[in-house]
Symmetry: C2
DNA sequence: CCGATTCAGTGAACCGGTTCAGAGCAACGA
DNA sequence: TCGTTGCTCTGAACCGGTTCACTGAATCGG
């Protein structure tokens, strides 16, 4: 058998004695009688015609593909977000082109231009280098939705606000329980100078009179374990560790166990994401739920609307999804606070 | 400013007084002098020309996109696999089109035809419905790599063997420790009649004289918790639970805790994947490491070679990656075995 | 009964690249 | 000096759809 060439629209046209144009219309249910449509569909079926998505995309100027640019897919939370996003995008018949910046802003830039400039109808950026003018430029050309970037205050095409308040809530929670000396583990993005998360943390800590050490950590559990090990060995040891992702919190759990420290007796730990594993580890993890599903749905809907409407991203719709604090067992009162009445130590 | 049209190759041609063909060659470093190439590159730079990937794909018949069809992206192991795969594919300049069958074979079929028939140069299928002739058909048209399917014995385009031996090792491990009554939790795929995993499990159990109940479970931690709760309430309770994914094992941990059962004293648990969380939960999870990174690399390499060479998938290269048993704390001897010498209780 | 409208279907241009056959020219060997 | 070779570049066809302007026939209102 002569390695059969894939059937094209012209083959279907020939088989039905119609013009390619008519076939094109018929397959999309336009400008043709129901009878013709049925005839075309039957012929297409017989020939195994499925249509060439690339050709369609070139002609129609729409790919039906959405770029998903993750800051670091190694992070459990991001993985889960991608899954949720895929589900939501699927409802709009959009497919995901997933790219992983692996924590490197320069890779993020290159992927963004590669994908954004070429393949996709829209872009979801889940963790970005806010210092780049890149986003504004991309936003000119196609709908860009940024999630989890409320911290930056920078506006790209369309933004899904969220977690400034999440960080604040958690820090206040630590404070209310008597903590005064914290470590904050934030996902490392080596070359970005003004990480928004750090700014918010610093600001809130200053307001509350919290002494916080901000430390970068890889997203991976193993990487975080290493960082946390050093942290927990320091003197004086922080009474609490706030991790900006549950992934990192897992690392802290391991490091604490290695060192024989009990959570929350010896050290309190908090995460960010509300990943399912937070309910499996012991003690269950106190964390911030940023309503990932809702965010994913909103992002998908926004993007789908923009894509369908060929709307210029000028629309700048903003959806704000409020995070919630999920209290479980991993934060307790610090030693000092348990012995004496917590003083306003400043 | 008149919403500037994106620069095309003809614009660059005009700017350099060359033909589009020459520009095309120059940009790829072919058939042109170094001087011309430099001139073209400069002009392209100035015009902000990036090239249209869709047009290029149509003309060249190659998209540089690889479809990644996951059985269920809800599974933590699959998430991690996708991440690893992305990294490996990136080395070959391939991008990932990620699709999630969500455990439904029919969705798997439709996604496979949609992606495979249209967009991608190749396909990685991580969990498939082995009963479908679909794969053979797709394999005719493009390189298909199936991972984790040694169980089926069915050959699609190219197959990455693995986990038959993994399942066997673990069951033997249970057996050696004295377990005789197991529950096996396998990811649910509702409509597939002859799930290969079940067949292997049944076969090995028969050989070892193990009494195993095979139960379907969703991939999600929550879903698995529910299933496990019912399982652990049954009488007689199985002495061990072998989960065919770490995700599911997490669910069992939660269910056990809810019921006040200690692992491994009251019930032993094993997973499959060697996901990082297995080292965070307590007791640390005994599991099968199927060397996901190696598998991902092999899959990517195979696919890249096939894509680059335009090789007909006839090549049927097979790579076998051997899994390893990772013993940690979650399997112990069952009660009965601890009291008296384990009898062949049947 | 006639002109206007509607509708199914056609032909050709187009999307933006790649690639093939061939042209023009310089360098080369005989 | 001339034919050959090799290199750079051109024009046109092509990938496989979509869409626009248009035609001929059927339908409609008056």
């Amino acid at each position: 058998m002569p390695a059969r060439r894939r059937a094209t629209i012209r083959d279907v046209a020939a088989a039905t004695n119609l013009s390619p144009a008519a076939v094109s219309y018929a397959l999309r249910g336009m400008q043709t009688t129901a009878e013709t449509q049925a005839r075309v569909r039957r012929a297409a079926e017989e020939l195994g015609y499925t249509g060439n998505a690339v050709a369609r995309a070139l002609a129609s100027g729409r790919t039906g593909l959405v770029g998903v640019l993750s800051g670091s897919l190694e992070d459990l939370g991001e993985q889960r977000f991608v899954e949720a996003l895929g589900r939501s995008l699927g409802r709009h018949d959009l497919h995901m082109l997933v790219a992983d910046a692996r924590g490197e802003p320069e890779r993020e830039r290159s992927l963004a231009t590669r994908l954004g400039g070429q393949w996709v109808d829209g872009l979801v950026v889940s963790a970005l280098d806010p210092s780049a003018g890149l986003w504004e430029e991309l936003g000119e050309r196609l709908p860009v939705v940024a999630v989890g970037d409320a911290l930056g205050g920078r506006t790209v095409g369309q933004v899904l606000f969220d977690n400034r308040s999440g960080v604040t809530m958690m820090l206040e929670h630590f404070h209310a329980l008597g903590h005064r000396r914290l470590a904050v583990l934030t996902p490392s993005r080596p070359t970005t100078p003004d990480r928004p998360a750090e700014l918010v943390v610093a600001e809130v800590c200053a307001r509350l009179g919290l002494d916080a050490t901000i430390v970068n950590s890889p997203h991976s559990v193993d990487g975080a374990t290493e960082v946390a090990a050093a942290l927990l060995a320091a003197r004086p040891r922080p009474t609490g560790v706030f991790c900006l992702s549950d992934s990192i919190a897992c690392g802290v759990y391991v490091a604490a166990a290695d060192r024989g420290l009990a959570i929350p007796r010896d050290v309190s730990v908090a995460g960010y994401d509300d990943h399912p594993v937070g309910r499996v580890i012991r003690p269950a993890l106190t964390t911030v739920d940023w309503n990932l599903d809702e965010v994913a749905t909103a992002a998908a809907d926004l993007l789908a609307a923009a894509v369908a409407g060929r709307r210029r991203p000028r629309g700048r719709a903003r959806v704000r999804v409020a995070p919630t604090l999920v209290e479980r067992g991993s934060i307790g009162a610090p030693r000092a606070a348990r012995r004496r009445r917590p003083a306003a130590a400043r």
